[in-house]
């Protein structure tokens, strides 16, 4: 049987199995996020599996090159999740190859406590100390006026997420990082396609990360990437991802450098096989070519996905503006054009209803909601025995923990679903007036 015949059957299978079902208001679930795909993803996935190369191959090569171009970066390294990407990005800065610039245990990394835990966990996992400052209620991003006060002679880096796709104030944060010689890591897991001052997020810092989990802007099932335009950071990040090895051969290749048995490393004997020389305490966080194959098909759709997210955000904003008496609506950071992950808002503390009551009402109508991930991370059980420093109050972070929810803007929300979502909000507010 020819490969083309198999792939033709896959297209037929897609048409039979994944045909879109009609939307039934109140019965069809409207998730906060979801994978959007067509026959292309199934075809590339099966095509990659028929190669049976399994580890990273032609599809990973194509995805890394094209995604780097899309993100306006010189290089992209695929990893198996956005959280792994954050772990690799932060661990990269601990490399001895960075000489005096490397991060050492006890050094402090500035961030915020309102967000997803794996933006902060790599700091702790590397023996470093997270330092938290508060966030703004309307952008959900770091309060830049609080940063300078939080710096100490141990501060070596700033690591922040662009919350739910909304870029943080990159002018201010970058200026502080440059002034104090700090590394900057941009967690873009929820912000693929967001721009600031006309440039892609991720291009301002030393390293950037993305996630390709099904909830994200594009997916490959499990997946993520580390992006950088610095060749040394790329080299270190690749080593960290690939067991910590010194060798840079691609999978299935030997002796790319031509010096496999010629070097002398550490206290190893002269000529020790370079394939088994380790310059870092690394991990294995690689993806398979089948994941990358799905990513290649998704990448073609990404520009459209981004536009649809922006359009859905605008519709929700316009539809909910009349309820500002009760809701603090999200505001894009000045100079930014967010590719929103979701539509977050705070329920103002009022005597009529709570965030939970609104969430329960929406969920009862099949509109799924989420809170802003970990809320105030320092209040999570996992942080009980963790050493961290808080500078100033985390008043807004706590407010978000109590009052924020977000709903979806993902491209699966069409006009019919959007009208339904807005009508459900109308129903809710009609009951409380």
């Amino acid at each position: 049987m020819k490969r083309e015949e198999i792939l033709e059957l896959v297209k037929q299978y897609y048409a039979e199995q994944f045909a879109q079902k009609a939307f039934e208001p109140g019965k069809t679930m409207i998730p906060f996020a979801g994978r959007i795909f067509d026959e292309d993803e199934l075809v590339t996935l099966v095509d990659a599996s028929l190669d049976f190369w399994l580890t990273t191959g032609r599809y990973a090569e194509e995805f890394e090159a094209k995604f780097a171009q899309y993100m306006q970066q010189r290089s992209c390294m695929l990893v198996n999740s956005g959280s792994s990407a954050n772990l690799i990005a932060l661990s990269t800065l601990t490399s001895p190859l960075l000489k005096s610039k490397r991060l050492k245990p006890g050094d402090e990394i500035l961030g915020v406590a309102a967000g997803f835990p794996t933006t902060v966990n790599p700091v702790i996992q590397n023996g470093l100390v997270p330092v938290f400052v508060d966030v703004e209620l309307d952008t959900f991003n770091i309060k830049v006026s609080a940063i300078e006060n939080a710096l100490s002679d141990k501060t070596k880096a700033i690591m922040l997420a662009h919350t739910l796709g909304n870029p943080f104030d990159l002018d201010a944060v970058k200026a502080i990082a440059d002034k104090h010689g700090l590394f900057l890591i941009e967690d873009c897991c929820d912000a693929v396609g967001s721009t600031y001052d006309g440039k892609m997020v991720g291009t301002f810092g030393d390293l950037a990360t993305t996630s390709f989990y099904p909830a994200h802007h594009i997916t490959m099932g499990e997946g993520g990437s580390v992006l950088t335009s610095n060749p040394l950071l790329k080299r270190i990040a690749t080593s960290m991802r690939d067991w910590g090895r010194d060798c840079y051969c691609d999978p299935g290749c030997d002796n790319t450098c031509g010096r496999r048995f010629k070097g002398q490393y550490g206290d190893l004997p002269q000529g020790y096989d370079h394939k088994y020389v380790y310059s870092h305490i690394g991990y294995n966080l690689k993806v398979t070519d089948m994941q990358a194959a799905v990513g290649v098909a998704q990448l073609k759709k990404l520009p459209l996905f981004v536009e649809m997210r922006k359009a859905n955000f605008k519709k929700l904003y316009a539809g909910l503006k009349k309820y500002e008496e009760y809701l603090i609506l999200p505001e894009a950071t000045p100079k930014s054009d967010p590719s929103w992950f979701g539509f977050p808002f705070n329920v103002r503390e009022n005597g009529k209803f709570t965030r939970t009551q609104l969430a329960e009402f929406l969920e009862s109508k099949k509109i799924l909601t989420r809170q802003l991930f970990a809320g105030n991370m320092t209040r999570q059980p996992a942080f009980k025995d963790v050493s961290y420093r808080v500078v100033g109050s985390l008043e807004n972070t706590d407010y978000i923990m109590h009052n924020t929810i977000f709903i979806g803007v993902y491209p699966g929300i069409d006009d019919e679903r959007m009208s339904y979502i807005l009508s459900v909000f109308d129903q809710f507010f009609n009951t409380i007036h």
Binding site: D51, T56, N230, P231, G252, C257, D289
Partner: protein
């Protein structure tokens, strides 16, 4: 990951019987760092299977929008002889790029860059020169380049066009050429150029003995940033 791409030979320029300069047009044009090297195979590989027999060559040009890649190849054995026979204008080969650690400084934006090259070791230095020119920083470059004779001086036109004249130091080892010392590069040439050995970056690319000689001397002055590309 590295990029695997078919490439067509655009032109071949001879620099004597042993050295040729190839201009190649890869089908895929993705960014690579100046100073990187690639693998070239004559097998017409079009699937993602184990990489076949190939040879490594430094890329002698910086990344460009039009995607052209320049290589300088010396005939040293059977495989390079085969390359000389088969790679004529219009012919194709397969490239896998880009690799290597012989790259421009990663963080330092102002320190001197001293390049010491012998023969075809000039290839990655040409890549540096083009990249530095793009960044408007060619005045940071000091290039020490030794070649055998008038015929075997690949890349000299490029260097003369990019590197400021006082920063380009030429040496011809086996022929008298007016205005060019008829000798090898020696350590005192480097010392007398007034580098700050703590802040300058030293890139050495040549044969084993050539590299050893300069690395050894740089060690004696505790030079901080020394990079080698030895073939």
């Amino acid at each position: 990951m590295a990029t695997i791409s078919k490439a067509t030979v655009l032109s071949v320029e001879e620099h004597g019987p042993e050295i040729r300069e190839y201009s190649l047009q890869p089908e895929k044009n993705y960014y690579f760092e100046a100073g990187s090297f690639l693998l070239l195979t004559l097998e017409q590989k079009d699937d993602y299977t184990r990489w076949p027999d190939s040879r490594n060559f430094s890329i002698a040009s910086a990344y460009s929008e039009n995607g052209t890649i320049r290589l300088i190849i010396r005939k040293v054995g059977m495989y390079t002889e085969k390359i000389f026979q088969e790679l004529i204008p219009g012919a194709s080969c397969v490239l896998k790029y880009a690799f290597g650690d012989f790259l421009l400084p990663f963080f330092d934006k102002s320190g001197d860059i001293c390049c010491i090259a012998g023969g075809t070791g000039i290839a990655p230095i040409l890549s540096f020169a083009e990249q530095m020119q793009k960044q408007g920083q060619q005045s940071r470059l000091q290039v020490f380049y030794s070649f055998k004779n008038k015929e075997e001086q690949p890349g000299l036109d490029i260097l003369k066009a990019i590197v400021p004249e006082p920063n380009l130091h030429l040496f011809c080892t086996r022929e008298e050429i007016q205005g060019i010392p008829n000798r090898r590069i020696v350590w005192s040439d480097i010392v007398n150029s007034g580098f700050d050995f703590q802040t300058a970056h030293f890139y050495i690319c040549g044969g084993e003995e050539f590299t050893k000689y300069f690395v050894g001397n740089l060690k004696t002055v505790q030079a901080e940033n020394v990079y080698t590309d030895e073939w």
